[in-house]
Symmetry: C2
Subunit: 357 residues, 2 copies
């Protein structure tokens, strides 16, 4: 017997499209292993909504993915006519999946909580707004959000499991940005800051404006999500953030910034050299505890797991009552559409397999 689990998918960027492909590829597996079939009943991008209560066919989904891949909108598929109502598909057995990077999904997500839907987020924004707005999500038992931190790495599920067994998280530390990890390794190997940034940008490791990564806010959001999951009601303002460029370069165009970045080469060269003299290396580290946290360039021992981290790999160290001296460590590639979509799909399967008993 196969149970159909309705899926409402918000967001059709690279992660959303990869997720659709993975869902189609794993249909037989979920049917055989859990007796579950994921049935996409609604998909949305920023411009349109496509609803089909009977579930969109594989052909329809593949068509939508192709259209989006061509840079067009979902509107080109559904036209201007409303194809259905989101309210009608927000049933208790449905799972709402937010793979946008938008604040505009918040209303739907709150409705989903009210309806008792499962919720899966890759979107960090609803979880990093002011605590009085976000706490409802953290208190909601049927929310999963593995892909918000470390993409497919099992960071959130590990913390949940520790907390479920009565352990108490004391502090967290991590290298949560592949881009900034790459940058640290390059500088360590003698590449000037400006050149390393340019390389990262050219390789597609950064946002079109590299300052969005260098600013550290995205890392801080991840640290805040982990802190709140640990049970600490912190705000973004409780985290100090060291951006990897000075305030004075904020107003420039991207091109002008890339040119001006050469003025920072010596600064970061000297910091790396100072660390090396103490047998240390620089890591863009986030550290957080119940009192607050700090995100920034930190010198750590060259020995040890953190110091031996190379390139874009992520690292998470979780210190708890039971793992007091030595943390639980999770490490590996923490970005990219394939592993991010897999993190989302893992959450969907977990919730779906719980919905069939």
């Amino acid at each position: 017997m196969t149970t159909h689990v309705p899926i409402v998918l918000l967001g059709l960027g690279t992660v959303g499209r990869t997720l659709v492909k993975q869902m189609l590829e794993t249909r037989a597996l979920h049917r055989d292993r859990y007796g579950v079939e994921l049935k996409v009943v609604a998909i949305a991008d920023s411009q349109a909504l496509y609803v089909n209560n009977d579930g969109l066919s594989a052909e329809s989904l593949e068509h939508v993915v192709r259209v989006k891949q061509d840079g067009r909108s979902l509107r080109d598929v559904v036209g201007d006519r409303p194809s259905g109502s989101l309210a009608l598909v927000l049933t208790e057995d449905a799972i709402v999946v937010d793979v946008t990077a938008s604040t505009r999904t918040e209303g739907v997500l709150r409705e989903a909580v009210a309806c008792g839907c499962g919720i899966v987020m890759a979107n960090k924004l609803p979880l990093t707004v002011d605590w009085h707005m976000a706490k409802g999500f953290f208190a909601y038992a049927d929310l999963r959000h593995e892909a918000t931190v470390g993409a497919g790495l099992p960071v959130i599920s590990t913390m949940r499991s520790l907390l479920d067994t009565g352990d108490c998280v004391r502090s967290l530390e991590g290298c949560m940005s592949g881009t900034l990890g790459y940058l640290c390794t390059q500088i360590e190997q003698g590449v000037p800051y400006s050149k390393a940034v340019a390389q990262a940008q050219a390789s597609g490791f950064t946002e079109p404006d590299p300052r969005e990564d260098l600013g550290g806010r995205d890392v801080a959001r991840k640290a805040l999500i982990l802190a709140r999951l640990a049970g600490w009601p912190l705000e973004m303002s409780d985290l100090s953030i060291e951006p990897l460029y000075p305030q004075s370069l904020t107003g420039l165009t991207v091109e002008a910034f890339m040119t001006a970045a050469t003025s920072l080469d010596d600064v970061y060269r000297e910091r790396a050299d100072a660390a090396a003299r103490k047998d240390q290396v620089l890591r863009y580290l986030a550290r957080v505890s119940p009192e607050g946290g700090a995100v920034g360039l930190t010198a750590v021992s060259r020995q040890g797991l953190l110091g031996s981290l190379q390139g874009p790999a992520n690292y998470f160290g979780i210190y708890t009552d039971r793992y007091e001296q030595e943390p639980v460590v999770i490490s590996g590639p923490g970005a990219g559409p394939e592993v991010t979509a897999a993190g989302v799909l893992g959450d969907i399967v977990d919730l779906a397999s719980r919905r069939i008993r």
Copy 2:
């Protein structure tokens, strides 16, 4: 509303006793978070069985733990009269928990499968017998066995999640023995083999006869469990095992072995030195792929996560289609009653929270 989930606990060694304490301590948490109450309806050691269909009270459980801690048997609590029948408590909603290190639980576990119970194992033996006997367990959807490998570290759950999202495991590598990790670090730091073994024994890191750890069979069992979970129907005979002492020292008493061990000091000193000349360090590494595997002392680069591992910490690297170049890494303390019991409890809570919908 609280749903009672009957628990059948097999084994009252240190892990079993720690588990009972953790279950009692986390009662309120499970009630509040999942609406679940774990109700121990039967416990057993190697000599007796204590059944109470209404659930043993906290006082009874604490009494049993004290009796066992004093080195006495459960028989001293229940007497010789049979206190009830195990068959009657193996209901579909029950969870059978095997924290023994015995082959004698296999019959009950097979009955539990037939009854549709949830099953949680810390016991490696039922999963490492011949494949035709073990495969029924691996195929059973309601089996969890996190604590069989890496104690409380999320190794099994991570592999399950990767497989659930359609990823394919290609190979696995790991340092799966805290004892042998400690030994490697000591030898690396110049301590002679025989002294390092004696220290490990004195610190309680080894079995009373250290050859049980040094022989590598326990590591091979863990590697076999991971291989089978990955979908490869391997046998123990498909793994080559390098014991850290020669065949000639097998027949000796423990005392005679400890004396004779000095004859091995030069052997391991030379291997460590040879590795160091290539900027490598020795790790007791298990490597396994669909074709088979090897467990033994391996020289690895001093750089990188594996080389930077210190002391008894465990390490697991999982290479998959999606994590092809860089593996998912899970590392941390992988032994001890607290974290092992927590691994078991995490599995119980996972199954219990699925049983209430």
